[in-house]
Amino acid sequence: MVAQNVAFWIVAVAMALAAIGVVRTRNVVHAALYLVVVLAGVAAQYILLGAEFVAWVQVLIYIGAVVILFLFGIMLTRTPMGGDSEFDNNQRFPAAVAAVFLLGVLVTLLVDAFGREKIELDAGVLATGSSAAVGDAIFRQYVVPFEVVSMLLLAALVGAVVIARRD
């Protein structure tokens, strides 16, 4: 348990600092790289929770495709990549107050509701997160949403091509 807790805290601190970096940095490429750190940290947390399949999908899809999409978007929209650009509107203080207030409400709620419930990484949890169990659930209980999501991906693909093409 100690090793898992140590790993959790190291990854959590890295993720928290990188998340602040995403929203505060003045360099847009650095923001994308900080996002990679956050996404990788989330994948590590999934492993700590025994969800090995979701962790791998997270790395593959988010870091491997979504971040690349972001970098292409930055490049194609000629966002100034110099490293000293002003990307914020003038609502920094009210937004910070709102975000901190929301965080306070959420943390109070969570501490009150869940107290010190524990997650032990025992065989049951690891069996729940195994690829076999997840695949079983997707193709039995959740096969209809799975097919609908396939249709959605097709629609998104066609829509993105139609919207973004130059004619």
Binding site: V38, A95, K118, G129, A137, Y142
Partner: protein, 110 residues
Amino acid sequence: MVMNQFLILAAFLFCTGVYGVLVRRNGVLVLMSVELMLNAVNLNLVAFSARLQEVSGQVFALFVITIAAAEVALALAVILATFRIRGRIDLDDAETESSPVPHTAGADER
């Protein structure tokens, strides 16, 4: 491991994403903040899945990942189209009758 440490980390990510969405002016950076929020939600789902030993939470997380990827693709397509018309993506460009946004000369005229 206490379950709350995952949930509070997810709450922190979510609130950071909220700050980013409210503050950033560039469309791509707002999208990145939305990704932060989606990942926070996923972390919540997987944490509960581990606590209750229910695989449904992880299946939901997989669907969220898929839909988020599709959403990013579409949103970037819209941002690209907007950039072609206006020459810049600035979410503070609210075009109205009295304050029109200057369109770039030689933009794609249909």
